[in-house]
């Protein structure tokens, strides 16, 4: 069940996805105790942010739409949580970093690593200040600059969490890897919306949000499959994973590890344990000795 992610050793391939819980050291510890092989924090930026007003979450038929608005205490305050988390965590701690410009990403990433982060994951779904409207993760040139800046600022692995809200995710993935990304997380939420028919109003206070949960799993599988064909770095699959079968599907598509978020609402925190426990018998039954052996297997079938 061991997995090597660009030098990070995971005892099992399940990880806590960014944005879910992950405010406090105690919560991260609790998730690790529930069986996660690694934990990713909430996205943290240079300055504190309140996030959006409620409603920040609305349920869709087969998933959730959220627009939290990156609430966080800012890296200087959050560094304390990173330090406390490092004291108690037995699993790798990955800090999710966001910014509105290259320099911001680099500064936050550097401070996170100084506080003890084992790796950083770049959340590139923020709008770029110098180019209002377009997300950093939608523009390969800007994304490459962000990755390069962060790579020169930190000596730990740098993962890039890719947005599916692009014409060609593979093109963006290649740009990130070329710029030095040590791994890719696919995918972030899919842009979505819900409108209340009675009041005729958008429900989320931010109007638009991101869809997660089982509804996006087929989209995420396709993204991982396509990216795997073109890049050499490890891929972390993310999107709608609820049970071990979902996890295996991601491995077969090309993911080396998987992240779980929305499923926590359904199966509580021990979803990590139940997913990991389900993978082992599958490997045994199919005659494999490790998760590594089935990564990308569907490409050979």
């Amino acid at each position: 069940m061991n997995v090597d992610l660009a030098g990070l050793r995971l005892a099992n391939p399940t990880m806590l996805a960014s944005g879910v819980l992950g405010y406090t050291a105690e919560t991260l510890e609790n998730i690790a105790e529930n069986g996660a092989g690694a934990v990713v924090t909430k996205s943290v930026g240079l300055k504190p942010r309140d996030g959006y007003a409620n409603p920040t979450v609305v349920q869709a038929s087969c998933g959730l739409i959220n627009a939290m608005g990156l609430p966080n205490s800012g890296i200087d305050e959050f560094a304390k949580e990173i330090r406390s988390a490092k004291k108690v965590l037995q699993v790798p701690l990955i800090v999710s970093v966001y910014g509105f410009a290259e320099e911001e990403y680099a500064t936050v990433a550097r401070k996170a690593v100084e506080a003890g982060a084992d790796a950083v994951e770049l959340n590139v779904s923020c709008p770029h200040v110098k180019e209002t409207g377009s997300e950093i993760g939608q523009n390969p040139e800007i994304l490459a600059k962000v990755v390069m800046k962060v790579k020169t600022a930190v000596a730990k692995p740098v993962f890039v969490k890719l947005s599916p809200n692009v014409t060609d995710i593979v093109y963006i993935a290649e740009a990130a890897v070329k710029a030095g990304a040590d791994g890719l997380t696919a995918i972030n939420t899919v842009r979505a919306m819900a409108i209340d028919t009675e009041t005729t109003m958008p429900i989320l206070s931010n109007k638009r949000g991101g869809l997660s949960g089982p509804a996006v799993k087929p989209v995420a599988i396709r993204c991982v499959y396509d990216i795997y064909e073109r890049v050499k770095v490890p891929i972390i699959g993310c999107g709608g994973i609820t049970d071990w079968r979902d996890a295996v599907e991601f491995f077969l598509a090309g993911a080396s590890a998987i992240q779980i978020g929305t499923a926590i609402a359904l199966k509580r925190c021990n979803v990590f344990k139940t997913v990991a426990r389900g993978i082992e018998p599958y490997l045994k039954k199919k005659g494999f000795e490790s998760v590594n052996e089935i990564v990308g297997l569907s490409h050979r079938s």
Binding site: V20, C62, S73, T199, S205
Partner: protein, 275 residues
């Protein structure tokens, strides 16, 4: 199974009309509306109320009826509740819920301690369980007479002798904190369970008294709520999520989070701030 599980009936967004509004005090109104799911609420559970275009806020359930009617209590404390206070019967609100766990009814003598609008879930508990409990004593505290809610209802259910009211300014009942008569009561009478809801500092003192006298204890907590389904982490107290693991906690659970209970909560940014 997996698909249907995501359509958690209680969490689905729906809208309903405000049916009736009653003014309880200068700052408190009660609202009724119909919602099949929320009408299944148990004492201690809460719902999320959407004030279209303004905000979505957590509110304790005051009462439910078999025909689907739900009663809630709203104190004017900020932008969202002010907007709600301006709304009229017939206007549309959104609801999700009910969420969280509920108070557990234990046999024997029950002591209920409510502060301010914190008496809301306790009144619900009293109505539901008054006939089942051996003996029921209700201690309620507020700043002034005007802030003491539902005195008549409580007197009717508990009996006049079993309702003890306190106010900070002495405008009604005893002039002291709700915890003062509690010490007297506990010294002379045996109670099996204490249920409390109100300001957390008060609840902490009640917890200490319950511990001192070896009485089972349940408290209903309040935190900033966003997702209410255990994902966002904004309502954490220690390792517990108030939206799912709570809002009702036992003394043993609260002892595990004693660094925070009565002292701090997470603000909207997820940063620990003093209560």
């Amino acid at each position: 199974m997996r698909l249907s599980a995501y359509r958690i009936a209680a969490n689905k967004h729906r809208t309903t009309q405000i049916l009736d509004i009653t003014t309880q005090s200068a700052t408190v109104k009660t609202y009724t509306f119909k919602d099949k799911e929320c009408a299944k609420a148990l004492p201690g559970q809460f719902l999320m109320l959407w004030i279209p275009g303004i905000d979505e806020i957590p509110l304790s359930v005051l009462d439910v009826k078999e025909d689907g009617t739900v009663f809630i209590v709203v104190k004017k404390v900020g932008e969202a509740t002010e907007a709600l206070h301006k709304m009229k019967a017939g206007e549309i609100v959104g609801v999700r819920g009910p969420f969280g766990n509920s108070f557990t009814l234990k046999k024997g003598n029950a002591l209920l301690v409510g502060g301010g609008t914190g008496i809301t879930p306790l009144l619900f508990l009293t109505k539901k369980y008054a006939s089942k409990a051996n003996r029921l004593v209700f201690v309620m505290g507020a700043k002034t007479r005007d802030d003491l809610l539902f005195v008549d209802d409580l007197e009717k259910i508990c009996g006049k002798g079993n309702l003890i009211a306190t106010t900070d300014d002495g405008s009604y009942g005893m002039k002291c904190l709700a915890t003062t008569p509690l010490e007297v009561l506990l010294a002379k009478e045996k109670f099996d369970t204490i249920y409390t809801c109100g300001p957390e500092r008060m609840m902490l003192q009640v917890l200490n008294l319950a511990e001192k006298h070896g009485i089972a204890f349940e408290a209903s907590l309040e935190r900033f709520m966003k997702c209410t389904i255990g994902l966002c982490g904004n309502c954490m107290i220690g390792k517990y999520r108030v939206c799912i693991d709570g809002p009702v906690f036992t003394s043993n659970q609260l002892k595990e989070v004693k660094a925070e209970f009565g002292f701090s909560k997470l603000d909207f940014r997820g940063r620990k701030i003093p209560l």
